[in-house]
Amino acid sequence: MIELYAITSAPAPEADGLRAIENDGLAALCSVAAERQLSAEELWRREEVIESLMQDCDVLPVRYGTVVRDADEAARFLTSRRDELLQALERVRGAVELAVRVAGDERAVAGDGGGYMRVKTRLLEMHDTLSALARESKELAPGRGAYLVGREDVAAFVARVAALEEANEELSLLCTGPWPPYSFVGP
């Protein structure tokens, strides 16, 4: 069994500890699947591998825990989903994902209806402001946004997040990344 990490255009760059299975202009980067205890270290280990790959090329990260039987099966997957994967690579070309999480003042969120509505309105405004700086945006959950941002626009985006936080005393914003575009590879 082999574990899939990411899909890139072929030829794939060298990646530490990964093997590239190439077919039809696409490459699947993978390693021999191993039983691993799930932990924060294990997730970061995997993330580091994909992030280092992201330095050299555009990548489509594969969901954690995805394994296939063998190289043939991986190659068949590349062929059967070729058009969709090529479109996805085009979509994320030159871009990274940034996460913005709102950590609000609990009193404002759980308090009277007026306070709740005020916070909710503020969140929507922030999301709109940040979306304007991104190629695409998604709300993963209330107060947890994902933004697909061109690599050249990352600094401006981060500065805008800082400015928004400055202007809103009730809410604090946590911006993390750049991440591989996990939230922008599917429909």
Partner: protein, 67 residues
Amino acid sequence: MTTIAERDVALVDLVDRLLGGGVVIAGDITLAAADVDLVYVGLRAMLSSVATAEEKGLLGPLRGSSP
């Protein structure tokens, strides 16, 4: 994302993305993490300590990003 503190703060976002995002392969291909619910239970325990450290709470449902 280099320091431990930064990683603690970013872990929530990492979990959302690794387990809820990325290219999904369906059909005759199996998932190694067969019981994803168990994975989430384990991570929830891990994340609750992160929440405390963060002193900001409001981590929201972990399932929020699943399709």
